[in-house]
Symmetry: C2
Subunit: 318 residues, 2 copies
């Protein structure tokens, strides 16, 4: 294990003076070929080769030899583990305090932006075009046009403007929607109207899309107060169920049969204790899934480690 | 009726020498305020005011006074009719030979680009994310992830590259798809791979989207020969049913249960004589529908007439 990588992972980078940090960060670029990685998930040779090509590191089947462990649902830690790189975008379900000091945990934020943003539009478009009901009618020989809507011209409000929120904004803009957003961090983005609070965003849009990570700050943040201000028609949750307060949302849907909750996540999933009401369209957390896309998402996790070793702190969650 | 407008509509513009044409076309800009329009569809004052604002013409309830007649399903002709402007994008169902010489017929091509292109993605995304089946399961308390796909990285082939095809291409590009196209007229467009024939397009893509108008040349053009070359997964028809040869497609779907036909149009609609097979997703020609969008589509028809009077020949179909 090169000493500077050990140094980087054993200390909080933010405590290192910038000049020393810059010197340290130049070096790791030379050393990935001496490092080893382990896969804490089912893998075949082809995906190991992709990892090797992207990172320069060598695969080991022995976790105790591995400097970097790539993992899916559960992290595994070996004797040499310095970096835990998750394959998933989110890390809200991890118990970070149980991971020993000196081990850096990286998310795969950005790893699934496109399929997740697609799922927002899968929910919105199938709802607005009444695809399921129309298709079911046509298969029964019934030709009946139900009222449909277009997204063109509608005001979409994006809460959380990370990679997924930005991809939602790009698609919405091309579709001719008016894009507004609220996020802790504003980033330069064309044709986006920024709001100072979630309340102000909720008041001024037709469609609210929740794209923020789940954290102690965002848990239950979509509550009665926000829902009361929402005058639009649809709320889409593509993030995590518990960002939305369950009682508030169920009450809102019960009181407003003409408003819809389109969601890829559900409270208590995979156990469905509360059956979704009629004005819900629900998919079972398939946003990040994507058949052949899996290799692309994994490749992004491999690039995430490489990027960290090159001094980029974007995906560091611990 | 100003003489030059009469001249324009009584003669094929292509027969006018370019310099004379240019002189003629400068003049009409001054005259719309002397012209009158009639609506051969149910309308209210607000939409008449929009037409007046856009065109400068005055509404008349007497068709015989109107220079321009806007129509939906059926054209109506009065004593003064010089221009028939359709509200729909397509004109394939009109019997143009029955319309007297001297009357110009204009389509509303481009009038519905966004909602129609949205419908392509409504069909594709609801299919690839299995929205209907997933939602039905979740409402039955069943949490089961079925295999889903992402559009990211897939190769989409667009047949017909007018306004709708271009809008499909824009959305597909933003979604990270590889865009290919075949069209009689190539237009400069970023990130599109052009093919020399429909056959070559069909051979090299995952998804074929039909966006071409129905005409004697395109009727039945998606036949067994094209379908045999298609190695992809989905064919989307957003145009007109009869561009696809019915027997060839039904045979193709019967032989390839893993391939899908996603379509907003159906042979013989609104009479469904053939029930769609399982590997079809069908909506009842709702592509151009869009609730509040109606005024926007109508405004585009008004601008089409204005544009014609300013010398633009884009939407002339007769």
């Amino acid at each position: 294990m090169p000493r500077h990588v050990q140094f980087l992972t054993e200390h909080s980078v933010s405590r290192i003076p910038p000049i020393l940090c810059a010197i340290i960060l130049i070096f790791p670029k030379c050393y990935p070929d001496r490092m080893k990685f382990y896969f804490a998930f089912d893998s075949d040779e082809s995906i190991r080769n992709i990892c090797n090509e992207i990172t320069g590191m060598t695969y080991t089947p022995d976790i105790d030899e591995a400097d970097v462990v790539f993992f899916g649902p559960k992290p595994q830690i070996g004797k040499s583990t310095k970096i835990l790189q998750r394959l998933y975008a989110g890390t809200d379900d991890l118990n970070l305090s149980s991971i020993p000091a000196g081990i850096t945990v990286l998310s795969n934020a950005g790893g699934y932006n496109e399929p997740v943003a697609e799922t927002v539009f899968a929910l919105l478009l199938s709802h607005y075009k009444k695809v399921c009901r129309h298709n079911s009618d046509m298969h029964a020989g019934i030709y009946k046009k139900l009222g449909v809507e277009t997204l063109f011209g509608k005001r979409i409000g994006i809460y959380g403007f990370g990679g997924i929120g930005q991809q939602v904004a790009k698609i919405a803009s091309v579709m001719g929607m008016q894009v507004a957003a609220y996020s802790r961090h504003r980033i330069p983005f064309p044709d986006v109207t920024w709001h100072d609070s979630l309340e102000k965003l909720a008041e001024s849009i037709d469609i609210l899309v929740i794209c923020t990570p789940l954290s102690p700050e965002t848990k239950g943040i979509i509550n009665a107060s926000i829902l009361d201000r929402f005058k639009g028609n649809c709320i889409v949750n593509i993030a995590r169920a518990n960002i939305v307060d369950q009682d508030s949302m169920l009450s809102f849907l019960s009181r407003n049969s003409d408003k819809y909750f389109l969601t890829d996540v559900w409270w208590g999933e995979p156990n469905i204790k509360v059956i979704p009401p009629e004005n819900c369209v629900v998919t079972p957390h398939i946003g990040g899934n994507g058949g052949e896309y899996r290799n692309e998402a994994f490749a992004r996790a491999f690039r995430s480690v490489k990027s960290f070793l090159e001094g980029n702190m974007h995906n560091v969650v611990k």
